[in-house]
Structure formats: structure tokens, C-alpha cells
Symmetry: C2
Subunit: 320 residues, 2 copies
Amino acid sequence: MGEFELIRHYFAAASCAQGGEGVVLGIGDDCALLELPVGEQLAVSTDTLVEGVHFPAACDPLLLGQRSLAVAVSDLAAMGADPIGVTLALTLPRVGADWLRQFADGLNLMAHRCGVSLIGGDTTRGPLSITVTVFGKVPAGQALRRSGARPGDLLCVGGHLGNAAGALPLVLGQRQAPVEVAEPLLAHYWSPMPQLVLGRRLRGLATAALDISDGLLADCGHIAKASGVALEVNAEQVPVSPALEAFLGREAALYAALTGGDDYVLAFTLPEALLSSLPETGVIHVIGRVREGQGVSLRDRQGQDITPTQRGYQHFRETP
Amino acid sequence: MGEFELIRHYFAAASCAQGGEGVVLGIGDDCALLELPVGEQLAVSTDTLVEGVHFPAACDPLLLGQRSLAVAVSDLAAMGADPIGVTLALTLPRVGADWLRQFADGLNLMAHRCGVSLIGGDTTRGPLSITVTVFGKVPAGQALRRSGARPGDLLCVGGHLGNAAGALPLVLGQRQAPVEVAEPLLAHYWSPMPQLVLGRRLRGLATAALDISDGLLADCGHIAKASGVALEVNAEQVPVSPALEAFLGREAALYAALTGGDDYVLAFTLPEALLSSLPETGVIHVIGRVREGQGVSLRDRQGQDITPTQRGYQHFRETP
């Protein structure tokens, strides 16, 4: 089976949706072809996951397939974009039919959940690594950028934080937990659900937005820098799941929520007057406020600055 | 220097063109934003190069940067698309300032030559691997697909074939050659120039097109299959460069031209009556004809079938 047949065969379930809206030509030619409705812009993002760095060696390929797509689609949610298509660059040490089938099943499942079609890709031999590039559409001028936060805006997040960081010792087999604790944490790590509906609802309301991948404080730093403002986070308002608190205790759970990566929950700012325009989803938590200045600070109940020095995970910390 | 600063710093020369046509928002947010003129479609392609598989370990990073972009942009040429933007997913074992600077220099140089802007990417730690996703635009309905070849059409290529395959023993240091032989072969391997102008000229004329990456015979097989026709290649018409013939001798040079990969020269079919519509560039060679039937055959001067069994390089030959 050649390179083309290989991709086509295993990823047929995701790519058969290629008659989907916006996809003129899918897998099998030199390029895929997309079209956009008049007045819409194309949103593009690329994410790479490397074995041993972003996921453990010998992990469940179905879960890996789900997660690879979800983390990329989450960037579309963060821009308020509707998914159209995705390309998959898959580097594999060898072709294992079982592995590929399960990986494809996971990817296909998540593609179906997100309403996205596989439109192309490349399969190469080498150390296991997965690069997903996602394409979405958003009405011109309405994309949610990081640069529009204004002093006085509220800072909000779209759900519990820290679950993925809390799950990591379980993923790596370093710790165990009762099933009622382990299950929700592992589900969040392996199958984060991109907040596409929330992103779409935030168009025209949020002044800045992103998805939390490096950790809340680090990502708030990105908004603060891009917008030229300061962000204040109230520690007691940061939402932590009951499972995470049961697993780690209150203090460590909060630390995971503040600095752990891989949450793929949206963080956004918006004028206070617009908060009531958001639907009552139960997932939106106000956690702080935008101020004049720069940087991110963490406050306790008394307003004291308790900012930790560790600001979430970043690849390549060292200065070259 | 963080992940974002790293990319921005070293790839500034390519990304500063982001005010370029079609690029609304470049590097630094969750997604890049592109816009298309009304009536144009977006062409997308992804290519991965892995160290030790697609290029030798410890090769010149400047050359690698050039080549990584060129092979991806070549897919746009093959569709008749005009380049807009590119994302770079770069996986590196460690951050070396010298290596990164040179790689970026090479990529920036090729980006400038191709008129394409770096609009986003991801930098991760792991075994060296480069995934480039390219974006171009093409008037709706005018993209050059593989599926339109019709019996009676001429089969043409856009230049000498086999140079990259001929260069391989030089690239790997297995052989040496006089500079007048080595230079053009190595230039073709490391810095193939995507045939964007030719691709654009073929819109509305060519019935099928692709860029030769797997080898002439293998790639002709892709056109034959997609179009439901047979392709006949006349061996004596296959163009081989003087350097390649001087290096390998006539017979081995022809074999390299027929089966070697990495040429990134366009192959296309068109009705004979349209041949005179093509500009007299000197690079277009008629090498055969489309027939009823299926598959690819190679003919000698007497019309005898001399098709070799080896049909060019394909990743993952074994059936899973």
C-alpha cells in the first residue's frame, strides 16, 4: 500500500466528509482546495506533538489521535473561527496496521465531534511525531485576537483549569487514583473538547481571547503583552474541578490550575457590561480584571500579590 | 527567549512580508488570518522532511532551509496557484543559535524568491524534523488537477530530470565530481526552484499536472490513475542535463531521470493544439502521449516497451 493509499485507507472516515462545506478538493492531489464565503477570512494554525515530549511513548493511539486534533482545533476556537479542514503530517518509525487504525479512529472521532474534514497530509518515516494544521473561517474583522484587552475589562475563563496537569502523573503511570478521580482528569488530558461554541459566541463581545495551553498565568501574560495592559487574577476565583481537588488537595490543585499547561480552555477579556450578553452556560468564570500597566499578577482574597515565579511550561526556555 | 520570540527573531525576514497580499494577521496569535480575493480558491499542501530520511544528518542548515520551503511551494506550482503564506513546524533536538540563524536565512531566501510570507508555526523539542504547510490562491475552477488527462493529449515536463537523484551520492559524500558537474547537480538538489510561473501559465491549458517528487514514472502513474488513462513515455525524449550525463553516463542518467525522486519539475498533459500557446521558454519538453487504457509504459525509439520494474521511491512500500 503506497503513501497515498495508506492515508486514504485509514483516515477515510474523517476525509469522506470532504464534500463538507468549504472543501472543494480533498486528499489525493498536489494540494487541497478550499473556498471561503464572501466576507469571511481563513484562520490557520499548526501544532506539533512529539513522542516523549508532548505525550508518553507507547500511549494509546486512539487517545493520541483524539488529542492531536483537539489541541489544534482549540486554536480555531480561540479565534472564534468555525472549522473547515485539517491536514495531518504523520511521521512514524514503521507502519503498524493496528496502531494506524486506532490512531485514525481517534482522529476521526474528534474530527466528527468538531465538524472538520481531513483534506490532506504527508506520511513519512522517522521518530513518531504528529503535526496538525487546521483551517477555519471567521467573518472578516471578527476574529478574537490577543491584542484588544482594555483596562476595566473582566478576565474570564471557559471552565475548570489544571485538570490536564493534574492528569499527567496518571498518564505517566507515576501515580494512581480512584476511578471517579482518574476518569475525569484523564478524559480532559486525552480528549480536551475545543470550545468552538463559546469562541463563536464571543465574537463581537470579547476584546481578547486565547486558549490556555502554556498555563493560565503564562497565557495571561501573552494577552497582557499583546494588549499593552496588566492582568490581575484573583486566586480564589480560579475554577478547579472537584476531581482535581480530591486528587491533589486545594493548594496543589490551584497551583496546577495557575501554571499547568494543556487545558485548552478559553481565557478572554470583555467589558463588564457585556457579561450578561453571554449565555448562562455555567462554564464561564470571572477570575480577574484588566488594569493599566503590564504583566500578570495573582491576588489573594485580601488583594495581596501572591504571584508565583514559575509561569507555566514553555518549550526551549534557555536563551539561544 | 521563549517559543514565540524564538520564531519571530530568526524568521523575521520572511515574516516581515506579512503585510503581504492576502495576509491579514501573521505570527503571534492563536491563528494566522488570510483573506482571498472574491472568485479565488485556497490551495493547501503539507510536506515533512525528517533528518536521516529526507536529508542527511549534519547537513548545511542554510541549504536545508531553502529546500524545506521549495519542496512545499512546488506543490502550489503544480496546482497553478500563487503563493500567499506558509507555516513552519520545526522540531529540534536543541536550540542552537548558529543553526537556527542559518536555517532561517535559507528559508527566508527561498521565501523571498517565491514571494511567500511566514505566517505561523510551532517550535518543539525532539528529533530534527521540518513540516511546512503552504497556502496559495488560484481562480475558482482553474486549479491544475491530476485527473483531467485525455487520450491524445501530449505529455510534457518542465525541465531536465534526474539531477536531484544524481546529486544524492554527492550529498551523502559517497562520490566526488569536478566542480562543473557537482555544482549544477547540488544546486538542483538543495535549491530546486518551484515552477510557479510555468504553473500559472498552464491554467486553462493543461488537462492534468503535478510536480515530480516520487520519480517521473511513478508520478506519471498518479496522473494515469487519477485520469483513468494510460501514459506512454518516449525514453529518448526525456530531458537529461549535460552535467548528469557527464557524471553518470547516458544510460544511468536516463534511469535517474525516469525513477529518481525530488526533481520538483512539473509534468503535465495538454491537447496538442495548445502546445503553441505555451511560451517558448526552452524548458518545456514533450516526452510522450496520453492513450486509452491504464498505467505507464516506457517506449524506445522503435516503440518497444522497455518499462523498468522499479517505479521510483515511495515511503512505506510494505503493505501494513
